[in-house]
């Protein structure tokens, strides 16, 4: 039976052919870049807006109340109203703050998350950047965000911001290790860093159960480490409202504050989608190796729905953490990483390498 998974490749190739037929190579490339850039910008903005609304509804659900449900059907236009309000707010300039760096910081944070979004595989063939070092590229690029945070804290010329930025810098740099190492286990299983290859290797089952225990351990470590990477949940002391007012973005107002806010939600989206991709198969439907009829039925559900469904589940999990647990202190946070997560990761990688060599996975 041929696969019914819709392949976007013919569609994108036809657009490419159309352009190269009518224009020169250089112009065609430029127009393609512009189209992709616009599509991603739109996607980024829209998803960012609706993630904020989703967070407020999930938070309200945890707290035994309703969230925003007045503005538009089910609160649909709430974030747009908030965005308009933020756009109209006065941008308060800080005297004696380093103006160039102060204005630059939000952009760096947005650029870092934007570059990572480009590498997400949404469906078969709908994959903007498909390097052969896919996952390595993503980890490298998302590390740029910490530069933006440190610059924001330093250039605000305020003690609160500086403390928040220093804490955040230490935290992000430490947890990047765990994120990278836990993703490495799947790379070893799949045998390649290219994201489309990783997804293809899950055609007979997702790595979370094909790789049994080590994959589950790697998944748990990845969820903890990535919640810390994105300054969310129990690891949000960089913006701990009850201690430091707002940490590194205390002095930002209006649209610049909106950038930080948006970048945080998009980072959460990126992290959730990579958890879904590496451990749960991305756009690959639920297949069980050997049960062909079952797999064929599963293929009828479009891969885009699979992808967004899995990502939504991961996002719900991350939000659940935030609204349940109290905050960790900075030294407890760093202890968790260096004394617990890192050794677990290293041992896990050894085990995975061994299992992969002996083919003891499903």
């Amino acid at each position: 039976m041929t696969s019914v998974i819709y392949d976007f490749t013919p569609l994108t190739q036809s657009i490419d052919q159309f352009l190269t037929k009518n224009l020169s190579q250089g112009w065609a490339l430029t127009i393609e870049l512009v189209i992709i850039g616009l599509v991603f910008l739109l996607f980024y903005a829209v998803i960012g807006l609706y993630l904020v609304l989703a967070e407020r509804r999930v938070c309200a659900f945890m707290q035994n109340r309703l969230g925003p449900n007045r503005v538009g059907p089910g609160g649909f236009f709430q974030t747009i109203a908030d965005l308009i309000k933020l756009l109209l707010k006065e941008l308060i300039p800080i005297r004696r703050a380093d103006k160039f760096l102060f204005n630059l910081a939000p952009f760096i944070v947005i650029i870092a998350s934007f570059m990572a979004i480009a590498a997400i595989p949404f469906a078969k063939g709908l994959h903007a950047i498909d390097f052969n070092i896919g996952i390595f590229y993503v980890i490298a690029v998302s590390s740029l965000g910490v530069v933006g945070i440190l610059i924001a804290g330093w250039s605000s010329n305020s003690k609160y911001s500086l403390i928040g930025a220093m804490r955040s810098g230490a935290q992000i740099v430490s947890y990047e290790l765990s994120v990278g190492l836990s993703l490495l286990t799947i790379v070893i299983f799949a045998g390649s860093m290219q994201l489309s290859e990783v997804i293809q290797s899950q055609a007979d089952g997702w790595w979370i159960w094909k790789g049994h225990i080590p994959a589950v351990v790697a998944f748990l470590v990845f969820m903890i480490a990535s919640t810390a990477e994105t300054n969310r949940g129990p690891f949000d002391l960089a913006e701990a409202e009850s201690e430091l007012t707002a940490g590194f973005h205390t002095e930002y107002s209006g649209i610049k504050f909106a950038f930080f806010f948006l970048a945080e939600y998009m980072n959460m989206f990126i992290v959730a989608s990579f958890a879904a991709t590496m451990f749960f198969g991305g756009w690959m439907p639920l297949h069980i190796g050997g049960w062909d009829t079952f797999n064929h039925i599963m293929d009828y559900i479009p891969p885009i729905i699979w992808y967004f469904g899995k990502t939504a589940l991961m996002i719900y999990l991350i939000m659940w953490f935030k609204w349940t647990f109290p905050r960790l202190r900075i030294d407890q946070l760093l202890t968790l990483e260096w004394k617990y997560l890192l050794p677990i990761n290293l041992v896990n990688i050894l085990i995975v390498a061994f299992i992969s060599w002996k083919h003891w996975h499903f």
Binding site: K159, E241, S242, P326, R327
Partner: protein
């Protein structure tokens, strides 16, 4: 490089000062902490109070005794009933007036309900300070039920001025007993939820165990009473040592803890909530019928002399000291408030810890700022 930059780069690390100013999400009132830090470690802490000093003691010198009740409500507003009770007991003992049994029972029930409501709000705010934002809603949801009972009987949710010298201002609503019984049944099921959400959580335990150690000698020397003092082993429950109102008729335990850290103070308050429910259950079925007030003169004049009355509020020992010269106004009235003494141990407890610990410690001491400043 310039001299200025050289100085910044090469001088030794000094301590720097951060102001947790009068407006701050976690000081719960207008209190200013001047915190001196070296990196992330607190070296010294200077509290500045007085932002809400209203001169209650001076105002009381020109008010008659029934009028003072309205001012005492506003000191520690979460223990409003207990503050009123303190002044009323002082006046009644001075005038040698015996209040009816019904009054004693109702006063004690109201005091314990107030204690429950106060501890519920403390729990919400403590969780929120530490980052578990959901606790705020769970605690308030249950507190609303108590406030509804108050509103039905007295018309107001927070500041009632209901307990007056001689008895009560008027009789309670006929529904009073039934609603309290319903509430106790409801809350007994909900209080274990508090433990599930916060007490057993390992992140919470790491944030609070071993933090802010207070020894018993320090608690006695600094005068730390209430759950904060009992958490260090200082047995200071006025309800047991000098019982008043209906406390001699009930049986309950005074919970003590030998460990003096934040977690033990937290656990103690949760245990006190269980004990309060026990006390209310013993009293609510047996409220005797009778008058709601004793016969008092229209104008109260205390005989010349000095009178002192101690009462256990939700936060510690409230003492009312009245000096009377035979007039209808007190010559001098002094409120020995628990939060005033509890505040000044912050320097000792928070030094050496981190900023995050400061927030946890001040939450566990449960400070109400208007009580400090009066």
């Amino acid at each position: 490089m310039t001299e200025e930059i050289k100085e910044i780069l090469f001088t030794e690390h000094e301590e720097y000062m951060i102001n947790m100013g009068p407006q701050h999400p976690s000081t719960h009132g207008v209190l200013r902490f001047e915190v001196f830090l070296k990196g992330e470690v607190v070296t010294r802490l200077v509290p500045h109070c007085g932002y809400i000093h209203r001169g209650i003691e001076k105002m009381c010198e020109k008010d008659t005794y029934p009028q003072i009740i309205h001012l005492t409500d506003r000191m520690d507003y979460f223990s409003a009933h207990m503050n009123n009770e303190a002044v009323c007991l002082c006046v009644e003992n001075a005038l040698q007036v015996e209040v009816p049994e019904r009054v004693k029972y109702i006063r004690t029930i109201l005091a314990e309900l107030g204690r429950l409501a106060s501890h519920q709000l403390w729990w919400c705010a403590f969780g929120m300070d530490l980052g578990a934002l959901t606790t705020f809603f769970y605690g308030l949801r249950d507190r609303e039920k108590i406030l509804d009972i108050f509103e039905e009987s007295f018309g107001s949710r927070l500041l009632h001025s209901f307990i007056t010298p001689g008895g009560l201002m008027h009789d309670v609503h006929p529904n009073f007993q039934n609603r309290i019984k319903e509430f106790i049944k409801y809350f007994r099921k909900k209080l274990p939820e508090y433990d599930q959400l916060l007490t057993g959580n390992i992140i919470f335990q790491n944030r609070t165990k071993g933090i802010g150690q207070l020894s018993k000698e320090d608690a006695i020397a600094y005068g730390i009473t209430g759950p904060s003092g009992r958490g260090s082993g200082f047995s200071c429950d006025i309800r047991k040592k000098y019982p008043y109102s209906a406390y001699p008729y009930v049986q309950f335990e005074e919970k003590l803890s030998e460990v003096g850290d934040t977690f033990s103070r937290y656990k103690l308050r949760i245990d006190e909530m269980w004990e309060s429910m026990k006390i209310i259950e013993q009293l609510v079925d047996n409220i005797p019928e009778g008058d709601y007030t004793a016969k008092m003169k229209a104008v109260l004049r205390l005989p010349e002399g000095e009178y002192f009355q101690k009462v256990e509020t939700a936060r510690g020992e409230l003492g009312v000291y009245i000096v009377s010269d035979g007039n209808k106004y007190p010559y001098r009235i002094k409120f020995r408030t628990p939060n005033f003494s509890n505040l000044f141990i912050m320097n000792k407890l928070a030094s050496g810890g981190k900023i995050a610990d400061l927030v946890a410690i001040s939450g566990s001491l449960d400070l109400i700022i208007p009580d400090i400043d009066r």
